[in-house]
Symmetry: C2
Subunit: 161 residues, 2 copies
C-alpha cells in the first residue's frame, strides 16, 4: 500500500459522494426486480409511499416531501395516472393546484407493496440495527446538505443573521 494513495484526498475510494452515489444506485437496483411486477420505478414507488400516507397531495406537497423538482414530478405523475394508480384533478378552491389522489387500484397496490421492505432487508442480508444506524447518518447528511445549499442560495446572510 502506497502512502501517497492513503493521503490522496482525490482518491476515488475516499470520496463520500462517490460511495453515496454508488450505494443509492445499488440499492435501487435491488428494488428494481421487486418493483417491476408492480409496474413501478423506484421514484414512482416513493411517490406512492407519500400518497399512501398523506393523499391527497398537490405537486408542491410532493415536491417538499420527496425533495424533488416539480418539473420532475409533473411527467412522473402523468405516467402514474396512465397506469391507473392515481388521478390528477384540479382543486376546486384553487384552480392552480393539482390534487393528486389514489384510485382504488392505487390503494389496493399497498397490500403488495407491504411485502417489499422485508424482502429488501432479507436480500441485503444486513442487520436492521445497522440499517437504522445508516439511516440516522444519512438524515444528518441530508440536513447538512440542505443547510449548505440554503447558505449558498442566500449568501448575503452574515454571521449575525
Amino acid at each position: 500500500m502506497d502512502e501517497r494513495d492513503i493521503a490522496d484526498p482525490l482518491a476515488l475510494e475516499h470520496q463520500v459522494c462517490f460511495a453515496l452515489s454508488v450505494a443509492a444506485r445499488g440499492v435501487v437496483a435491488v428494488y428494481r426486480p421487486l418493483l417491476e411486477p408492480l409496474g413501478l420505478t423506484h421514484p414512482q414507488y416513493l411517490v406512492m409511499l407519500a400518497l399512501w400516507q398523506h393523499a391527497p397531495l398537490s405537486v408542491k406537497d410532493l415536491s417538499r416531501l420527496l425533495q424533488l423538482d416539480p418539473g420532475t414530478l409533473s411527467p412522473l405523475l402523468k405516467r402514474l395516472e396512465a397506469v391507473g394508480y392515481v388521478r390528477r384533478g384540479r382543486d376546486g378552491r384553487d384552480e392552480r393546484v393539482l390534487a393528486v389522489t389514489l384510485t382504488a387500484e392505487g390503494r389496493a397496490l399497498r397490500a403488495e407493496a407491504e411485502k417489499i421492505p422485508p424482502a429488501i432487508v432479507e436480500r441485503l442480508g444486513m442487520e436492521v440495527a445497522e440499517l437504522m444506524d445508516l439511516h440516522q447518518s444519512l438524515t444528518r447528511v441530508i440536513g447538512a446538505a440542505q443547510t449548505a445549499i440554503a447558505r449558498a442560495d442566500a449568501p448575503e446572510e452574515t454571521s449575525a443573521g
Copy 2:
C-alpha cells in the same frame, strides 16, 4: 405521535432507500456550484478522479471502477473529449478497447480539483470522523447490494455452491 405511524413499515421517513436517494442528490447539489467553474458535472468529476489515479483506462475499466453502465459512460466521455480534458483513441494491441487518456489541460485541472474536498467538508459543516463513519456504512451497503444483485442474476446457485 401516532403509533400506527411508528409501526408503519411503508412510512416515507423510515425508508433507507429514500434517505439514500435524497442524501445523494443533496450532496451532489452541494458539489454543483464548485464543479460548475471547472465545467464538470458530478459524474464527469468522478470519471476525472478515476483518470487522475489510473489513466489510461478503457471504458470497461471505468465501468468497473465507477459501477456505471458502458452506455452511460460512452456519451459522457465524448463530452469530456469535447471540452478538451480527455482523448479517446483505440488501443493498438486490441482495436476493440477504447483508451481514454488525459490531455495536458485535463491533467492541469487536478490542481483546481484539489480544492474541492476541503470546500465540501467546510460547507457541510460535519465532523470528518462522522463522514468516515458514514463512508464505512455505505461501503457495507454497497457490498450487500452487489451480493444481492449477483444472487438475483444467478439464482441457480444453491446453498452448497
